[in-house]
Amino acid sequence: MWWTRLKALIVKELLAVLRDPKGRTVLIVPPILQLLVFSYAATLEVTNVDVMVLNRDNGHWSQELVNQIKGSPTFRSIRFTDSPAEVRMAIDTQKVIAVVEIGPTFSRDIEAARPAEVQVILDGRRSNASQIVSGYLSRIVGTLAADTPSGKRMASNAVSVVARNWFNPNLTYQWFMVPNLVASIALLIGLIVTALSIARERELGTFDQLMVSPLRTHEILIGKLIPPMMIGLFHITIYILAAVFIFGVPLRGSLLLLYGSAIFYLASVVGLGLFISALSMTQQQAILGAFLFMVPAMLLSGFATPIENMPAWLQPITYVNPLRYFLVIVKGVFLKDIPAVEVARQTIPLLLIAIVTLSAASWLFRRRLE
């Protein structure tokens, strides 16, 4: 009996979202487009760099330096200039990110085994990218220095560093980005779909009808919980397929663990959504409330910047963020084949978040009835 009632509510909830062709489209097309666009766009690699060279030296070594920059695949174009005013203009208007300035005695200094110097001016407005560019340029200068007569003398027992990257040997950015997006896009969609569910009924006045139906309060909540989780699982499935077959991200761990923890993740997301929904009087409040949670959740998840880099007082706040745990699971299962114990350790907080938010939602829900 209760099952028939619940089933009716679940079907109704699914229809509410999927009946409208625009609603169907918005749940399917944009998430896939997002995955495609953002996983290619969101890269902290710096390529296609434009630089300018102001060369006051006409010897062999400055030419050699220019050739090495030209030969590096990172640099897209080199402009040459001999006026400092042009240097200023090019940096100011962001035509180039860096200017290499070679002084008039550069080659002579090298030939005479005196320390030679180049100046690199970088655009500090884009300090992250310019730091990376500065790293590239230093490496080029270092290679050139090792070729100079005095450099060769020093090189005999120079210590070299051999780096090996585990889990992602070529540091392919998409291997990092796609698993991150799997978790984040599921949060974005799950939260908004659920946040609206109670608020919409309230705004349209159908909430009262629901209340006088034979459904019990917890049945209503379960009925509101299951459809968004089904939608979320559908999305996660699409993303996992895309990750493996379009982006070639290796799936090294167990799919079962991933799905098992995904259920808890979605339950915690939906719990948060229902909580926001129960707090809101209108759909607008629900959507904006969801945003208010979502934006900090994205920033404090370890997605864009590692949590360990955040100040110590801020780190505890991330403990209530379901994305934080699921990111570890998705990346771990995909790339590192993390053990089941570790997955469980990350899943328990998800379960706790789900229990707390769902209880809070049902309490609010019941209180609003009176």
Binding site: G23, V26, L33, V37, Y40, A41, T43, E45, V46, N48, D92, Q94, P115, A116, E117, V118, Q119, V120, I121, D123, G124, R125, R126, S127, A129, S130, S134, L144, A145, S150, G151, M154, N157, V159, V161, A163, R164, N165, W166, N168, L171, T172, I192, V193, L196, S280, T282, Q284, L288, G289, L299, A304, T305, N309, M310, P311, L314, K331, I338, E342
Partner: protein
Amino acid sequence: MTAHSPMTEGRAARIRRFAALVRKESYQIVRDPSSILIAFVLPLILLFLFGYGVSLDTTQTRIGLVIEEEAPLTRDLAAGFQASRYFTVTVGRDRREFEEDLVLGRVRGIVVIPKTFMADYAAGRHPALQVLVDGSDPNTANFVQNYAQATVANWERQRLSDGSGRPPAIAAEQRFWFNPELTSRNFLVPGSIAIVMTLVGTLLTSLVVAREWERGTMEAMMATPVSAAELLAGKLLPYFLLGLTSMTLCVLLAVFLFGVPFRGSVAALYALSATFLMPALGQGLLISAATKNQFLASQLALISAFLPAFLLSGFLFEINSMPTVIQWITLIVPARYLIPSLQTVFLAGDIWPMFTQAIAVMFLIGCVFFALAARSTRKRIA
């Protein structure tokens, strides 16, 4: 009031009507706590997070350091890593001690000074240091590699200068203009102001107008003597002002609380922001006219405005590094023009050739959005 045809109507009446519209819309903003939340609370949170919390500056990274053979030289090299301000080091004897930590993300890398190190060093055979890094986060992996390299270079330089005192053959002297300390806050905070204006301009506006369509009050308004243009202008003006207010709040916080330098002029700041609100509001209007449903509007605003402002604007990720097709897409993202200009107003000063270009493009995109929005509004009524 007697019915007038719009042709014969006086100017005073039109102004009064318009003022009434603006007033009605402003009341709605003030009355609903959620618009205050988006216009004032969310900006505070965002600025706070970018100001204090989220930073691209890498601080100490945890690594494991394995010394396979104890010797004065290897101990000295290890001390170099322990003294580095980039690493928090745990020392071990065997790399297997750290392998599990690397899998679980407890350390980001393992630096191994191998058994062969001393022998190679003595024989002048290029002794090598092994660095195993967690590639699942490529950015941190790169940092660990680079800092390991820098630590070794630093150690060598010190060791050499003890002996022969020879400086490197070529030194690259680096100067970072506008932001010499490379504080990432200085460019993240101006960028987040653009995100805030996108939220107010596009998300909030699209929701409000979509609700009017959903409830049918939009049609009711259309039936009044108010012309469509007046109606839309009356709706948008309060949100335009709200956007500018919340921008002003952000700028004040950025300058006085976070100490971000402000080297440009207030005129440039407002010219850029006001122009940016045109495409932002136009997009919100277009979304609401096309969807007429709050759920769809929120999803579209999220996908077409908020996420692109974050990811396709050069805010966090370099546009030049993106694939060509995606670089084309960024051309129609208004935030892409605002963010570098705002960063310039804050950090560099007034560089008008850059600003005028940005203003012109944003204005153009705004016109296109408004034209499309007007078309889909009219079609609906007919």
